[in-house]
Structure formats: C-alpha cells, structure tokens
C-alpha cells in the first residue's frame, strides 16, 4: 500500500488552475522526485500535502486515512515533515533550539510542568536534546561543536539548508518532503546532498518526496520521477523514461526552441 496517495487533487487561485486532477503516490521507503519547469505547481503540491492550502477537489490519503482539511500542525504530527525552498528557519534561535522546537508534536510537558520542572519534564528535555544531537550529528561536525549554541542566522547558506533538514527530521516523520534541497549549492555540496538524501532513506528510514531542479541530483537519488507541467502530471517512471519523454522535453525546452527561431 502506498504511504501517500493523491487522488485527483485540484486547486485553483482565482481562475488559474495551479494543480489539476493530480494523481501521485509514494510507497513506503521510496524516493520520488518531482520535476517540472517553474510554475509547474511543485511547491503548491507540497503546500497541499502539508495542509497550508486546501484542495478544491480530490483527496489526499496518508497511511490509509485522508488528511484533507487537517490543520498543518496535525498533518505534521501524523508524520509528514518538510523543508522550504526559501529557507524558513527560526533565525534568532540557536541551532539546537531550532531542532528541539520541532519536537513539539511528540512531547507532552505543559506550561505548569515546565514551570516547576517536574522530573518527567526534565527527562523529556534530556531526551529531545539527545535527539537534537543525533539529528545534527547526521551532518558530521558541520552543525555541532560551537555552532550548537549559535543563532541560526550566523550559519552559511549551505548549513542553513542542512539545519532545515535536521529540523524536519526532528518531528520523527515517516514522509519527508524536501523542497529543492540542492538549490544554491556548489557542485561539491550538491554531490554531498545527493549522498545524504540516500542516507536519509537508508539509515533514517524516511520515505522521501523531493522537488529538485538539478538533474544530476534527480538522477542520483530517484527511485521514480514525476514530471509536472501547469499542474498536470505529464510523465512518470524511472529517470531515463521521464528524461527522454517527449512531453517533458517539450515542457522544459519547448518555449526556448520557439523563441530561438
């Protein structure tokens, strides 16, 4: 059974159809890439899955139950977590706190227990601090050591991307949505992130849906590729099938060939 299944999901803003009767499924343990030109509706797709937008029609089923209409935080607590294309870290909080904050969904201590620091609350704090340590250690020494207590704004761009991934995994998700994880990275870093995504699946056990523009990354990680254009699925299959698909080539290059004439 698929972990995530979108059934004929549609969304329009005003008269513009951003996503049109889209069917996508992601199986447990898979890495699926979503590609498509700008404005194809990729990020909108993520916003639909995470509950930021409500679909006009269709259904989104996660782990056997529909998640349409649930608030974003509920969806996150069900086990879907994401990163943002534009990076939305909690900039004035420390690296550690960024990760610990995302543990909100699976911790329990309320205001009163926090106030008096009950033993249970303190145990929980130790647990999530340990969790933050493991999640950050995933990236080697990059986010550890002295950076542990530094505000997120002092990080470099690449490290911010890493921190976002670490934060996304802190809510113990089953499905991880990565929105252009390699955007703005140099070739070395891009190579590293490619390996990292595979590692996330193999060691972390996450199912991953990723939006990516860099075809090297897509080729390197994907079990399956879905191509979108104007909110419609135009191709699906292995990287080779999709990359050579006529419609996909047209979607990416069509306008260019037209204008170059």
């Amino acid at each position: 059974m698929s972990l995530l299944e979108l059934q004929k999901v549609s969304l329009s803003f005003g008269g513009l159809k951003v996503v049109d009767r889209l069917d996508i499924h992601v199986d447990e343990g898979e890495i699926v890439s979503v590609i498509g030109p700008n404005g194809a509706g990729k990020t909108t797709l993520f916003n639909l899955i995470t509950g930021i937008y409500k679909p006009d029609g269709g259904d989104i089923v996660f782990d056997g139950t529909s998640i349409v209409g649930l608030e974003p935080h509920k969806i996150s607590q069900r086990g879907i977590s994401r990163t943002f294309q534009t990076l939305r870290l909690f900039l004035n909080m420390s690296v550690k706190e960024n990760v610990m904050a995302a543990c909100y969904g699976h911790t329990k201590a309320g205001i009163f227990r926090s106030m008096v620091r009950t033993p249970g609350m303190r145990r929980e704090e130790r647990e999530i601090e340990e969790l933050a340590r493991t999640r950050l250690a995933f990236f080697g020494q990059r986010l550890m050591g002295y950076r542990w207590d530094q505000p997120a704004y002092s990080l470099s761009y690449a490290n911010r991307r890493r921190l976002e991934i670490a934060r996304a995994t802190a809510s113990n998700p089953r499905l991880l949505l990565l929105d252009e994880p390699a955007a703005g990275m140099n070739p070395t870093e891009t190579h590293e992130i490619t390996e990292l995504i595979a590692q996330l699946r193999d060691e972390g056990g996450y199912t991953i849906l990723v939006i990516e523009h860099d075809m090297h990354v897509v080729e390197g990680i994907s079990d399956r590729v879905v191509a979108l254009d104007h909110g419609v699925k135009i191709a699906e299959g292995s990287f080779e099938t999709v990359a050579t698909d006529e419609k996909v080539v047209e979607a990416y290059l069509g306008l260019q060939t037209m204008s170059s004439k």
């Binding site: 803003f13 990020t43 916003n47 930021i52 937008y53 943002f84 534009t86």
Partner: protein, 307 residues
C-alpha cells in the same frame, strides 16, 4: 419616523467623517502595509488647526470674511497643516523603518501618536475647544435647511455631507485617473516590482501620506463643527476610523467609504434605539464578528499565503 430620519442624517454625517479617516488608514496600508496609529492624532491636530484659524479670522460671532469662505479657509488650512504633518511623520518615523521587522513601525507609530497628543496638550492644554458656529447669525446655519417631516436637516449638515462626498470623488479621481494614482496602485500591489519598473516609491509614499492626512484634516474640521474637540479625541476617532477601514476591507478605497458609512449608521441607530452608553460594546461585537467570519472585510481581497 422623525427619529429615524434624524438618526439617518446623524449616521450619514458621522459616517462620512469616519469614512474620511478610514480612507487615510486604507491608503497608507495599501502602499506600506502599515497601520498608521498616529492617524487619529493627525486628525486631532486638524481639529485644532481649524479652531485656531477660525479664531484668527474673527470667530463665528463676527467673522472677517463671508461664512462660506470662512469654513472653506478653515478646512483648507487644516488640510494643509495635516498634510505637512503626515509627510513629516512618514519621513522621520516610518521611512527609516521600512525594512525593519513589521512590528517596529507599529511601535514607532504608537510613539508618534503619544507624542502628538501630549505635545498638543503641552501647548494648548486639555480644555475642550468649541467651534461655536451656532453663534453665527443667531444659529442660522443650524435652523435653516431642508425640512423632511418634522425634522430639519441643517444647512451645515448638508454642506458637511456634500463636502465629504466631493472629497471622496476627488480622491477616486486622483487614484484612478492620474499617473501618480496609477503608480500608487502599482506600489500597493507589489512594491518591489513597482520600484523595478521605475516608479519612485518614496514619491508615491509621500503622495499617499499627503492624501490620507489631508483627508484626516478635513474630517477633523467636519467633526469639530458638530461637537467640541480636545487633545485626546484622536485615540477614539482613530480607533473608529480604523475599524471602519477593517470592516470595509483594509487596503480597499471603496471599502473604506462603505465601512465608514456603515459604522456611522450602526453607531447612530444603536445610540438612538438601543443604548448610548453601550454602543462601543455593540461596535466591538460587529468588529469581532467580522474578524471571525470575514477578516478581509467587505471588499478586501482574501490573502493567499505565500510560501
């Protein structure tokens, strides 16, 4: 029936004042996405400027100029001074904060509001000022007018309402038919894109503040023609104008007009038929209902969350 007509006229007068204040909020919000808390105090300054000019020109008892000219001069002076004040506030209290976190200009605006009302109190004291136009020619401005049923709608009322609508039409023309108006609308739609298209954003913003503040000045005079003014009037008037703008849909110009009139009618009828003391409570209820069920207001666009 007579009471109804009376209340309707009251509501219309009050509503047009609210609408003029609300327009100031809405214009500035449209362009800067800033709630200009100091707007109510600019309005208050307008009422005082009007009072000062009125006294200088001999007062209502023995005016040095014909009465129509007197009222026009008072209004124009108030509009000129408030326009200048608005520009100064923008230049010194808001412009440095244009790229700051969103809460920063709001707090600066609170500071300006507090500064203005207390400065006025420092200079002119807390005593109420009355335009006393009733004194003119044995109350002819109030006693003459149109008779509907048993109700007299005084000349002054009619003038006020008409003037307010004329101002709104002029505003509509400025915003919709002039180049600067077009630039204004472009800026409110997307400031950065407008700047890249060669629109001088600073000029547009200054223009916006001139328009909004001048309207507040005019509203101030219209308000003070009805009831005495004092230095703390800005808080309440500002708040009401604010609410009118929100009900109409903040950022929308026709919305502010409709919101202002609606609020004026609502207050007038509530005070006439239900309760004078508790009208604030009802207005609050209306506001909360709007917030809950249609927080973009009557004519506002629902905002799409950008991710």
């Amino acid at each position: 029936m007579d009471q109804f007509i009376q209340l309707t006229v009251d509501g219309l007068t009050l509503g047009s004042v609210y609408a003029l204040i609300a327009l100031g909020y809405t214009l500035v919000y449209g362009v800067l996405k800033l709630l200009n808390f100091a707007h109510g105090d600019v309005f208050m300054v307008g009422t005082f400027v009007g009072y000062g000019v009125l006294q200088e020109l001999g007062g209502p008892m023995n005016p040095k100029v014909p009465i129509w000219l007197l009222i026009t001069l008072v209004t124009v002076a108030a509009m000129a001074v408030t326009a200048g004040l608005g520009v100064a506030i923008e230049r010194f209290a808001y412009r440095p904060l244009r790229d700051a976190p969103r809460i920063a200009p709001l707090i600066s605006a609170l500071g300006v509001s507090f500064f203005l009302s207390n400065s006025m109190q420092l200079l002119f004291g807390a005593t109420p000022r009355n335009y006393d136009l009733f004194e003119y020619n044995a109350g002819s401005l109030y006693l003459r007018g149109i008779h509907i049923g048993g109700v007299t709608i005084p000349l002054l009322r009619i003038t006020t309402i008409v003037a307010a609508f004329v101002l709104m039409v002029i505003l509509w023309f400025l915003v919709n038919k002039t180049r600067t108006g077009k630039a204004m609308r472009a800026t409110s739609y997307d400031r950065e894109a407008a700047a890249m298209m060669g629109i001088d954003i600073d000029r547009v913003i200054v223009f916006t503040f001139v328009l909004g503040s001048a309207l507040a000045g005019a509203a101030g005079v219209m308000f003070a023609l009805r009831v005495p003014t004092n230095v703390s009037i800005g808080f309440i008037a500002g708040l009401k104008g604010f609410i009118a703008a929100v009900i109409g849909g903040i950022g929308s110009i026709p919305g502010a007009m409709i919101g202002g009139l609606l609020l004026g009618f609502a207050e007038s009828y509530i005070q006439g038929y239900v309760s004078t003391q508790w009208s604030d409570l009802y207005v609050f209820t209306i506001l909360v209902l709007f917030m809950l069920f249609r927080h973009q207001g009557l004519l506002g666009r629902p905002d799409i969350r950008k991710v």
